[in-house]
């Protein structure tokens, strides 16, 4: 048990180290001036992507999965990096406790209680969600047992061979490190994702709005039930869901990648710092490496960059770097799928013809979507009311960058889901009931971020986004919280 715990800690450490290496390379000159509190959650998410991609490439090169093969390159790179790089100057975070009021402490207490709960419950129970058994953790077990990816495995349609592999391979790394397919230990990835989600949310929103509004919205995100259902799990059922525990699914990871990609892209459109664009490209690439739905955000963001380049007269090299980075994350898997002739679930179904043939479904789909967005507050709370309401009040700024870009990213994602439901060959009611609750999670953190920015702008007496700290070039870590 102690040995397993040691190797579990080491496996998690490798996620952080690999992500930290990538983040250091991306922001070599530390132009983003990220504190260690900000670097850690970003590094963790980048690390999940880096290690899973590494394992995927190992499989292509027939290098078996083992601790040494996977960990050694990162540890060596870290050693080289420490040797090469000047001492990190901005490692700390300046916290002035005097600026934290009773209300802020209460919010911090609420967030902390949720984090503690997620970590405690997630690792004390095994997985129970059906998709975890059927797909994500089943693949993790298969890749761990096989010490790699066998091409025959992808010939069975029932294992969803077209689904990207970030989640199963990162869980397979935990199994490889501890030497057994212990789900409870594999589940540790999820509360860590939860912590990353709320940290990244706080720090991105902090770039736009005051510390207190950021903290308020981070608290709201942390107590939104659907987020906890996917992060730590709940005993019993909740709302219309058949289970309260969806730990082991890929939707939480996608929502974090989508939030981070969109958030860093929004920051890039404000101050044109290239590392923000690089991070946006990596995170959106990772969204597509997590679930196929992530491809929509990559495509939409690519179009938005073109628009941004034209309207702001920026170099086209920015678009090129976005394409190169996202492609290097997504391309290996897409090429592999293509070579193995792995067909997507909807391949051959997506198109104008099947969509038009099922146009009669639109009222059913919209009715269901509306009902989930606005009537299932026990799962999503008042996120969509807040998103719509504040966007309407703040409509002028909603039509300006960066908010307009963020709205487009959300609308394109919802439109893609609508299209999928139009062309699905499954019974539409069944398909909606078994998937839409999770699709909403993908866009929930970003919607809440937009609502937070709106509230910040509405409450500001004399400023909004265009007059915010970031536009004054004053976007460093402030002394408070």
């Amino acid at each position: 048990m102690i040995t397993e715990a040691f190797f579990l800690a080491m496996a998690i450490g490798i996620f952080f180290i690999s992500g930290f290496i990538i983040l250091t390379i991306v922001d070599w000159k530390e132009t983003l001036r990220l504190s260690l509190f900000m670097k850690a959650p970003i590094s963790y998410m980048l690390g999940l992507g880096a290690v899973s991609l590494q394992m995927f490439l190992y499989s292509l090169a027939s290098i078996p999965f083992n601790v040494l093969n996977i960990a050694a390159p990162w540890l060596l790179t870290l050693a080289v990096l420490v040797y090469m790089r000047p001492p990190i100057t901005n490692i700390g975070v300046r916290v002035s406790f005097r600026d934290i009021g009773y209300f802020d402490w209460f919010l911090i207490l609420v967030i902390t209680s949720q984090v503690v709960y997620a970590f405690t419950y997630a690792v004390l129970v095994p997985i129970s969600g059906s998709d975890a058994y059927q797909t994500w953790f089943f693949k993790a077990k298969v890749f761990f047992v096989d010490k790699g990816l066998r091409t025959e495995f992808f010939s069975t349609p029932e294992v969803h061979p077209d689904y990207p592999l970030m989640v199963p391979l990162s869980a397979a790394w935990i199994y490889t490190a501890i030497g057994t397919a212990n789900e409870q230990m594999g589940r540790i990835i999820y509360p860590l994702k939860y912590l990353s989600l709320i940290s990244i949310f706080y720090f991105i929103s902090r770039k736009f709005i005051s510390a207190r509004i950021s903290l308020i919205f981070t608290t709201l995100l942390s107590i939104t039930p659907i987020v906890m259902i996917h992060s730590g799990g709940l005993p019993g059922t909740l709302g219309v869901l058949y289970s309260g525990d969806f730990v082991g699914y890929a939707d939480l990871a996608l929502s974090i990648c989508f939030l981070s990609g969109a958030g860093f892209f929004a920051l890039y459109t404000l101050d044109a710092k290239r590392p923000y664009l690089t991070l946006a490209a990596i995170f959106l690439g990772l969204a597509a490496w997590t679930k196929n739905e992530g491809l929509v955000s990559v495509l939409t963001c690519g179009i938005l960059i073109v628009v941004h380049i034209i309207t702001q007269r920026i170099s086209w090299r920015h678009l090129l770097s976005f394409i190169v980075i996202t492609s290097s994350v997504i391309a290996p898997w897409l090429i592999y799928k293509n070579l193995l002739d792995i067909l997507g679930e909807y391949e051959g179904h997506v198109g104008l013809k099947p969509a038009l043939a099922n146009i009669g479904r639109v009222p059913v789909i919209l009715d269901y979507m509306f009902s989930m967005f606005f009537r299932r507050t026990e799962l999503y709370n008042f996120t969509w009311y807040l998103y719509l309401g504040t966007s309407l009040i703040n409509w002028r700024k909603s039509l300006q960058r960066p908010l307009v870009y963020l709205h487009i990213l959300i609308i394109s994602q919802i439109s893609a889901y609508l299209l999928i439901y139009l062309v699905t060959f499954l019974d539409i009611q069944f398909h909606l009931e078994t998937s839409f609750d999770r699709l909403i999670l993908h866009i929930l953190p970003l919607s809440l971020l937009i609502a937070a920015i709106n509230v910040g702008a509405i409450l500001s007496m004399d400023d909004g986004i265009n007059n915010s700290k970031i536009m004054r070039g004053d976007n460093d870590q402030k002394g408070n919280i």
Binding site: K141, S210, M228, L459
Partner: protein, 173 residues
């Protein structure tokens, strides 16, 4: 200077009031989640106790299917090909997915509620689990196949579990 202080104070008040309103809304509507969390916390002593082993937790969450999969795991080699006779129609998919998960790397074929002899002969084992309410007559077809040799069978309150070896030398084609 004074005006700035007043502005900051007013802004801070607005933020706190907005925060309290939003938080009240969220906390009220998340009460289902908090109730579930409290339930989980109440179960903590049990989850943390030494008597609550990994197997017991699995049994609690997965029920008899876990016991069945464990039994099959112990009684079949890892390289075996297994034919899952799955006559329990309402939960057949659940049984198959769970069993496939636990038995990997064994190759598992979900045969559903009918046995195809030609297909069966391609496998080393036939296994089944039927809940007590389904009734043991659901597995009658298994008993009529001469080349199936019983490795393990058990009937208890969890249902009927069977593991049979396909003995291709006996009556096999």
């Amino acid at each position: 200077m004074f005006l700035e202080v007043v502005k900051d104070w007013a802004k801070s008040r607005k933020e706190v009031i907005t925060g309290i309103i939003l938080l009240m809304l969220w906390l009220t509507d998340s009460r289902g989640m908090f109730k579930a969390e409290i339930k989980a916390i109440e179960a903590l002593p049990l989850l943390l106790s030494s008597s609550s082993s990994y197997d017991e937790k699995k049994l609690f969450f997965d029920g008899p299917v876990y016991l069945f999969a464990l039994e099959a795991q112990h009684r079949t080699p890892e390289d075996s090909k297994i034919y899952l006779f799955n006559p329990y129609t309402s939960g057949a998919s659940y049984i198959y997915l769970k069993t496939r998960y636990y038995l990997y790397p064994r190759k598992l074929h979900n045969a559903g509620g009918e046995i195809n002899i030609d297909e069966l002969l391609k496998y080393n084992y036939l296994i089944f689990v039927v809940p007590i309410e389904t009734g043991s007559e659901a597995v009658e077809p298994v008993y009529r196949i001469p080349f199936l040799k019983r490795v393990y069978q058990n009937l208890d309150e969890n249902g009927l579990i069977g593991i049979y070896r396909v003995d291709k030398g006996v009556g096999g084609r």
